[in-house]
Symmetry: C2
Subunit: 696 residues, 2 copies
């Protein structure tokens, strides 16, 4: 909530929470947050585009309306898409010569803001321009761009991104739809061989799509060249399926019901040879296949890699949804009162320790995600604008996407749910927005790459990086490396130094705490964990290289859980690093101080979450481990007075939040009740308590 | 799924999962599960009533239909309630002389099964017969029973349980609605003094309720005697509000939209003196107040205590929802294949370690909850049937409710969500049931007692129990007690004995593991944690007794998070104990073996979750702590072949599950795809791979 007039929990230094302890040891003056400066920092690298987008999402006609039927909601979102097409808000990534701006990062920045209007609008726009349109742009060539992009951009051609099949979601390489080249007629014959090969969960497929970018196994001359994309007409001008095309409606979903997801099947449908989107692979008239990328595997990953923007935008949108949920819950929690703690007046619920524990660490995580997302978006922009788009850059970008998207989409579900429970029964009402956000965001965890599968990709990359250091070397090198590491650490790092803590720390919690809030100590704790986990797993997997494929797979499988945990640790480290860089770049002194505490809360929260690991691996003594929780309690109490400013800095107006409980209504009710009792007592007509003497 | 013909993952001993390791150390023959015997055991103490209820919930006309509008859903559920009234399924708790059975435990057993038909049906039935009807029965006297219960039972009088107000949910004692006695007219004047005092979130209030049990501050002769319940007419025969009554619809909610929740307000509405439900407190014609319970506090808790059955039934219903979700996800996970792990065929996803880690521990938790719930229900029945209903019994029952309901309702949300994600995109479709269950169960975490507030009640009880041991004694006693404890433990318990582990365990993981699976070791680890946490907190809170109320509240607040964690640990211990007793009572040898593993998974899962605590407090050495995770991995692999039998034993038929992905459809698709490729290869027409030589 940007409107400061509606705030009831002043964060001015004169009124800190009663629970806020005095800083111990060193003198720390109580800072103030400069909300406009912090808001500006959170807007990231494309602030003007985000501000413009927020003007758009504040317009009622672009917003979701709870309680519409599925049919009504779908119609409304389709109409909203037409508005977006007219506004041009969604065209920034397209080529300049077609009316776009070739602005890839800015496009995503503006696009992900749509989540505040209605996640269905965001995702349906993403299907049309982000997936369907991008596939034509990145996998097609100039002739496809000129023929199809204008209609895609204007929404004259609503379309489908037909990749996933009922039988294969995460394993795209195994899709079963075939596109077999017939040199006689210079056509591809597109066919769905069995039920599991039906295309499924496709946005725009149930109703609106009149064409698709279809992914199928390209077969020519009796050879399967792997998955390629084709331009595939679906429906005629009356909306009826073309001959050979059939489909089904996926029907009601757990959320995102403004999108008409559906299934498609093809019965030997013929399309012209030119419909192959042939940027990375082509078929000549005579059926000869050619590609500039000789390795089928690399070709496949190159084609899929162009679609990374879906993951980028989900990372951003999930973070925004978390920010909105926290703004609602913190605003309500700062006004709502329940139970008299010790005095006469009922206590504001955000003054309860448990309530702070529920919300403040999630504010820290959302800040970490916001900063990490902006760096991610800058990296994405560099790759897609061609500033830095080597193979290595692209692989780094994909690893970043695979690490960050799972963390932020899971965190959104966790955060929105915690916010909903923190608002009690009021949180369960649709009018307070949280349940709708939660329902819509649910599928973010499994689409555009299932989170669990993505984290395995990260883990494999980490293992590859690790093993590259030992390529062309015998196993003796590994042993020497480990010794070397140990020596390095003893000299420079936190890792082994902490092993000596049991003695050094004894009796000195203050000194332990002092170390924990050092940036380098946090960095070492988090980095060391990732490195150690990967080294451990690599050691356990080494025998697998000598086994049969099945045995090798079994060994790998026996460590799958550890691998995923290591990948998660890596993603957390990336978020922490981005947060730390953001703190370093903060110029306002008050903001820098509060962000430092918030970063400490995030970093030490991660250490607390994984405390058993640090203890088992001798990185923290029991004494110091205990001080982690104690110090987190202190930071949280210290941050309490800044809670409202921290969420206000996300910059959402009442038009974005649209939650009655965050509108100031609760404060009005509290004031009215307080005034009533004050007047009643003054009137002398207040009833006595049955056991009045017991009451103080 | 009870229909064994539809199972694809046989759990026969001949075909264990490839991932299942050989038991090490001792020879353990592979057991088989006797599904009918296990099903019978899981049905608990009222098996016939549950079986009868499941016949009812298998009837389509009692089931929810996804995608109805809120208005349609409300109408449907109201009609379903009429069916239930005719069936008499919901009358078991009512007095025999009115056509009931005075069967309190059996009533809840049957009632909570309704969740499988539609949670809206369960909760709306709960409002009518469980809250509204029970309040008349338990807080009213014979004249109220005879006047009102017949209409309540037959649904001639749909009613509202009007307790919660917008301003006060958990803190019922602070509700602001007043009922002021007017001796002149022998009436109570019911009034809503301000907006926050509106009754809110009330089922049946928006449309259907024609009367309410209303909770208000009873004021007579200028004295407030605290919260009492009143019979309150709301609407006339046309459905219009009576004079002075007004209301609002709560509108769309995150789930349970078959229930018409709403708000009510009263403008000096007069009701006859006799409308006071006067079992625990009465007002004579002249306005004199009388009560058999002299303490207002005890009177208040006695009145509220009669309503514990809401929490009992939510504990059972949440457990059933978890069981259904797991049945769906395990059935799908046993048929669905994705990625080739090492061989030619794609791997069944439940053979992936991570997938097992996601689902099997949750099966263990759901079993623990099922057994704990049955014991809870038996205790409830004893109190309400009068077999064991001393004050102490009632307090124990309330503590049990406050400990178990939070754990099982939170676990339901976690489990259903994990099941939904484990089913990928298919899990997000309404046709597969999981998203609807999750949405409906959401509010179970905050209604009928907010989970966080309930756990604080548990913690306070534990602290009271602890301090009672030291009543009338100086502080020296506490110190002696601690020494005594230490001595006891050194002789008899696991607690301090484990402090010596670091040396004893070194190099011997096997021996560590051997100890961990001993029942007494698990019991000691879990019990010791609860005791130690409470002792620690009690020590920290002791200075508070000498402080001002505000200071004392601040000290308490500074440990709120620890208190809640201790209460949770207590609830987990109760579940573990119930599971252990159930294992002891299991007669079938195969079932007993598998349940023992499952109990170990539950118990050691708790130890793993709290591993940092055990390490910091010296209860586990780093060596043994590490073996906890390793042993859990082993138990999970060992349990994998029994996963389908374990969920089938929950006893739900396809009519209860109503999830397409758990109907065998996935298996059919897999078979069809496999047959297609087999035939294609046999035909000689299969396309070659572009890089065929690379393929094995």
């Amino acid at each position: 909530m940007v409107d400061t007039a509606q705030r009831s929990a002043p964060s001015a230094p004169a009124t800190p929470s009663p629970a806020a302890p005095k800083p111990t040891g060193t003198f720390t003056p109580i800072p103030t947050i400069n909300v406009p400066a912090l808001s500006r920092q959170l807007l990231g690298s494309w602030p003007e585009i985000r501000i413009e987008a927020r003007k758009l999402t504040a317009r009622p006609e672009l917003q979701g309306v709870p309680g519409l039927s599925m049919a009504e909601h779908r119609l409304r979102v389709l109409e909203q898409l037409r508005l977006l097409a007219v506004e041009g808000h969604v065209h920034r990534a397209f080529p300049v010569h077609l009316g776009g701006e070739d602005n890839h990062g800015g496009n995503i920045a503006g696009f992900e803001e749509l989540v505040t209007a209605d996640p269905s609008l965001q995702i349906k726009a993403g299907v049309q321009w982000g997936l369907f349109g991008s596939a034509v742009m990145h996998l097609g060539t100039r002739k496809h761009h000129d023929a199809y992009l204008p209609g895609i951009m204007s929404l004259a051609t609503p379309g489908v991104f037909a990749m996933t099949e009922t039988g294969h979601g995460s394993d795209v390489a195994s899709i079963a739809t075939t596109a077999t080249y017939d040199a006689e007629t210079q056509e591809f014959v597109v066919h769905t061989p069995f039920r599991a090969a039906w295309k499924d969960y496709l946005g725009n497929a149930a109703n609106d799509g009149i064409a698709a970018v279809l992914f199928a196994q390209l077969i020519t001359g009796g050879v399967n060249h792997g998955v390629h994309a084709f331009w595939m007409p679906l429906r005629d001008e009356t909306g009826a399926f073309l001959p050979g095309v059939s489909g089904e409606d996926d029907g009601l979903k757990g959320g995102l019901n403004g999108i008409d997801n559906g299934r498609l099947a093809f019965d030997n449908v013929r399309i012209p040879r030119e419909n192959l989107l042939n940027r990375y692979g082509d078929v000549a008239e005579d059926g000869t296949y050619s590609s500039a990328i000789s390795s089928p595997g690399r070709r496949f990953f190159t084609m899929l890699g162009t679609l990374v923007q879906g993951r980028v935008s989900l990372d951003g949108a999930a973070t925004q949804a978390s920010a909105m949920a926290l703004t609602i819950a913190v605003t309500y929690g700062s006004q709502r009162r329940q139970f008299t703690a010790g005095g006469e007046a009922e206590q504001v619920i955000l003054d309860y320790q448990r309530h702070q524990r529920r919300l403040l660490p999630r504010i820290a995580t959302t800040y970490a995600q916001t900063f990490a997302h902006d760096e991610f978006l800058v990296a994405f922009d560099k790759v897609f604008s061609g500033i830095a788009d080597t193979d290595a850059d692209r692989q780094d970008l994909e690893t970043l996407a695979a690490a960050l998207k799972p963390l932020s989409t899971w965190a959104a579900l966790d955060t929105i749910q915690e916010a909903r429970e923190a608002c009690g029964g009021a949180g369960f009402l649709a009018e307070n927005r949280l349940v709708g956000l939660r329902a819509d965001l649910d599928v973010y965890a499994t689409f555009e790459g299932d989170n669990t599968v993505l984290l395995q990709l990260v883990a494999k990359r980490l293992l590859t990086d690790f093993s590259r250091k030992f390529a062309d070397a015998g196993s003796g090198v590994l042993a020497r490396y480990v010794v070397q590491q140990a020596t390095d650490r003893a000299l420079h790092n936190t890792g082994l130094r902490t092993l000596g803590q049991a003695v050094a720390d004894f009796g000195s919690t203050a000194r332990s705490v002092g170390q924990l809030r050092e940036t380098n100590v946090q960095r070492e704790l988090l980095t060391d964990r990732v490195e150690t986990m990967i080294r451990d797993i690599a050691g356990k997997l080494r025998p697998a290289s000598k086994l049969s494929p099945q045995q090798s797979a079994d060994v790998f499988n026996a460590h799958q859980d550890e691998l995923i945990e290591a990948a998660r640790a890596h993603g957390e480290l990336l978020q922490w690093e981005a947060f730390t860089r953001a703190v370093e770049h903060t110029t306002d002194a008050g903001n820098k101080q509060v962000l430092t505490w918030l970063r400490d809360l995030f970093g030490l929260g991660l250490v607390e979450k994984h405390l058993a690991w640090y203890l088992i691996n001798g990185r923290l003594s029991a004494q110091r481990a205990q001080s982690v929780t104690a110090y987190i309690d202190r930071i949280i109490a210290r941050l309490r007075p800044f809670a409202q400013d921290l969420v206000d800095s996300f910059g959402y107006s009442p038009e974005h939040l649209r939650a009655k409980i965050a509108s100031g209504a609760e404060q009005e009710r509290q004031d009215e009740a307080r005034d009533y009792y004050t007047a009643l007592r003054a009137s002398g007509n207040a009833p006595a308590d049955e056991k009045a003497p017991r009451k103080k």
